[in-house]
Symmetry: C5
């Protein structure tokens, strides 16, 4: 079972260490774990994600959930950060997502363009920046260069980087798709190699058929525990947080979260599973995640 | 019914707030609404828009209409701003449109290139800049990056940004076209996410057939009121102004404007409906819009 | 009939005004008109343009014609300006052409790349810069951005900009070609919108058949006077100069020039019609143009 | 037989000389040879390279092998350098690899994007930077320009450049592939021409059939000694190190290494042949390479 | 017969004049002619050019030939200049070639990327920079822009520019190919227009069949003298040097050189004809060229 790296082992610059310390030990569960609420789906998927839970269309709702649900941080794009975060500044940490796109144009060779900068994050008092990296896209060369600029700025300002490490694009599809253990594993290592401090991964889906076009060593049956262990190891000294994806039944989401944490993850990033509910339900499931993470000091 | 956000709720920097205050409370209806006269069609459509109203070919005509028709501001490209605005400087506020293009080349993957900068706007004494964002275009990544530069400059200089949020391009057409509630709604949210202060939207057209390729949650009958409410909510704390589009009968334009304002819009941006008429008619319809907006303090 | 704008009406910065004043009132006819000799065809068409008039292959020939023919200015690319202009500096004003290309590659989506900068023009003591804008090209977005940089530099240094406004590219061809009143008219307006101080236009060709794919309002018979009036109005407060195109019989060229000036043009830019002749003929036709312009104070 | 160039013959700037001196004479065999351990395969091939030797998935393993195996330097990307190198700083020299990519997208026209800068290398105390140059790729123009920036920065900071000179892309395949003596030879010369200080080459594969589409002068039988001699000469005053490629039997790897050194190579860069083994085996084969190199003072 | 321009007629800046004076009057024949030894073929063609003359593979050989053969200058890329030139600094002038490419990828739309800068040339004490311009390539717009940057830097530092003016690409092939008088003539004029100080041309090949797709005025029989005269005139005040191309019999090369000089060329640039021979032969043919040029004071 992979061991969760400790902040002191990461050889971070003082600025990065100070800010990550805030996220790990002074907010949310405050025990070295991370509990992140993302609200970037309005850009990535469009308003359709809000239809089943009308309250959620107002960004203030998610900020309120982040605060009252005792999250370690809320992650959003610059527009929401500028207009909604000021009311919550100091009360709940901010992860400024620096890039994003709509889902309208083709996803064959995706690239997520920068919409904000590390300087914006510094100005707003954010404690980390977020970056979506499309590993395996035909445009990954542009992506890597764009990320380099972010990494350099983050180094200069002592700002931790959370990488949304997403295998994506036609070549990934040809090798079994974005959810195979192969694809997620490669994405985890790539993010580590390029300099992520925290890596957001989706939980691999265990479909042996899809591995037939993956490299040979991956072509076997995997248990979820094995798969989680593998990708966490591939992230090395980058902390791993797992995403919940679409809204699911509360029980199954919590069970999966438990497995992730036991495998060595540092935390969870659950969005739709939380805010696609009325306030009291959203706070209730937040409470469940909080209690879960509290057991992983 | 969506509530119109108040300037004080927007968490704007002092420069942005001061300039928006001028537009909202010291010009035009001066009651917190916006009444904008755009004259960028000479570039976007070419001189053909002026044929039925020959006076309108001379840009001085539109500046005169803006002044005598008591508009909150006139919006135009740098060329007109340099040569015609100086005569009107101080008398009617200027929104400098920063990008634009001709309609001659293919619109399959549109991108509106920058023709001017925020610095130009500052130098000319403008109170806002305008930016056309083609949401969903295959080149939206370039667009987002270009917009980021504008947003950063606008932040530095305290200059409000009005985003012309236009769903556009082949992928948008494939999902029902630029006028569906789906397309306009996504454009509104995108502009909010990227940091617009004011968002110009076209009024959605309510054709259920066109929604068949839109996401499922949009596939139902919408009343205009519902549609307007939805897109205004998707704009969040970005103020919404609605466009009139092509010249229509005075009555129907005013009726539609009324619905927009009741739905929670902050203002109107009517060009061809105003200046594609002889001066006295143009001033007369301006007067109608002015009176209408005066009722929405 | 369009009125020629007066220098005082253009709201120019002091630097632009001082330099345009030199071109309009202190050189050539010196009565507010412009008489420009262009020698950029060696790049745009290649040496073939010089075969029928061997003297013209030596750039010094054109500089001599510009001086002895009493032109308001000579327009050329950086290479000729660096090596030939110094001999004539102070005696005949220079318009430094900043971009250009050869005619060898396909013209389907043309873009004229920058070969020199406004700074070069300042260093050489030029009184204006020239820029070729391909309106309607599939690459017009790059063109507009490139022009923006030129415009900003020109603003900073107080340097007037002469835009060679050329409709061009596959989409223009599909709508009737580069010589229709529709195409030239749109080009004139576009140059005005982007910030040209002077616009060089080709005289529209009046072929009703070619207008069948143009917007409806253009689809009628035009007299040359009507067409000239229309495009000059579309240029607004940007001064218009008309080109002569290929060498023609002296009489017809002068007759056409007369019509242009009567329609409200500010001047003429005749190259091949002048320098594709032996010296005495070149000076003789220059003299005719000079006399013609002298009547339009 | 090609003579190995001496550090004093290379006309290096003081900074480059000082750092190369450290690599050649103060680390590893310390006799003017180089023994490099690369760990960039996690990015280039993905985690699959670690499956047969699970310890190797943890980057700390390779750093430990580099130290205990007495290597001249370890070469890795910025992510590993930031998080793992600090523990080893001062004990084993670092070559910071500046560019890299995943193997997922098509390799038809490869380009390896910059993930780090020479400034990063300086900040981390590295003694050289590494750069992968894809000679013959359809995108080699971008590559050359990207390399130029690296070379200029390296000159400014006195940082030696190790070029991974790889013939690659569709045009290379059409001429016999990346492993022919023709392809490797051209790559060696190209790296020299562009300014490499050290060139990493793969050992050419001697398949006469594959030379049928190479230039005529290459179309003959080559012995390995002849081929090694040729490519080392093509590198001129750039020092050559040879790669071992995939893991092979210890004996054959050492035998090939011997031939390389006898042909005039300056050193060896063996990764998978070393770290795709348990620690004691990895150290054992390192010891063999160390002894081999010790004989080439 | 075209007259060779004199240095004093070129209106050069002091720095350019001082450096060209060194090349024309203080090195090589030192009588106002130029005798240049290029060694950029290792990059442009690969090591294959060295196979028939093994000594030539070592760049030091060409430097020695340049010195002992009393050349005006040696022209090479940055890699050779850094590692080999220092030994010869002060003894033989250097022309630093700033761009170059391999012949591996397709030549349909060639662009020669910058591998070095004018600043590099200044730092190394070079007396000129070299630039390959592919006239007529579909990418000539990029080329012209890239050249502009070089020209500006060269102006700032007073560094003369030698342009390798090569018609190239699919459109050139479609009009008869790179060696027609039409193609070479256009290339010469283009280089002049863009600001070359010295232009390297290939001697046109006189094949009337190939002119059938050239502009009409070129479609006739040309003698070599006529062709040389024409292209030299098209270069205007840019000095012309002719290339020898592939190795030929000594006699025919010298005879062609004689014709070039009589036509008004300023000098010769012969590479393979010189260094693709053993040292004594290389020096012998250099001596012949030297004597030939000595007669053209």
């Amino acid at each position: 079972m992979a061991k969760r790296p400790h902040l002191n082992e990461l050889n971070l610059s003082p600025g990065k260490k100070a800010r990550l310390y805030r996220l790990l030990y002074q907010a949310g569960p405050a025990n070295g774990t991370l509990m992140i609420l993302p609200i970037d789906q309005g850009l990535e998927h469009g308003p359709r994600d809000f239809f089943d839970a009308p309250e959620s269309q107002d960004p203030d709702f998610e900020f309120r959930v982040a605060l009252e649900g005792r999250f370690s941080a809320i992650a959003c794009q610059i527009g929401l950060a500028e207009k909604y975060y000021p009311t919550y500044a100091g009360k709940v940490p901010l992860i400024l997502k620096l890039n994003g796109k709509t889902e309208i144009p083709s996803d064959d060779a995706p690239l997520s363009p920068l919409n904000a900068t590390v300087e914006d994050a510094v100005r707003l008092g954010a404690d980390a920046v977020g970056y979506t990296l499309y590993v395996g896209s035909a445009r990954q060369d542009e992506d890597f260069r764009q990320f380099r600029q972010v990494r350099e700025d983050a180094e200069r300002y002592g700002m931790p980087i959370v990488v949304w490490a997403y295998p994506r694009g036609a070549a990934v599809e040809a090798k079994g798709g974005k959810d195979t253990i192969y694809a997620v594993d490669y994405a985890a290592r790539t993010a580590q190699e390029l300099g992520a401090d925290v890596i957001k991964l989706n939980v691999p889906k265990l479909d042996p058929d899809k591995l037939q076009k993956a490299p040979k060593v991956y072509q076997r049956d995997w248990t979820l525990d094995q798969a989680l262990d593998q990708v966490i190891r591939s992230a090395g000294k980058s902390l791993v947080i797992f995403a919940g994806g679409e809204k699911s039944q509360g029980e199954s989401a919590i069970q999966k979260a438990e497995q992730c944490m036991q495998a060595g993850a540092t935390g969870l990033i659950f969005g739709r599973n939380v805010w696609q509910r009325p306030l009291h339900e959203a706070l209730s499931i937040s409470q469940s995640f909080y209690q879960l993470l509290s057991r992983y000091a």
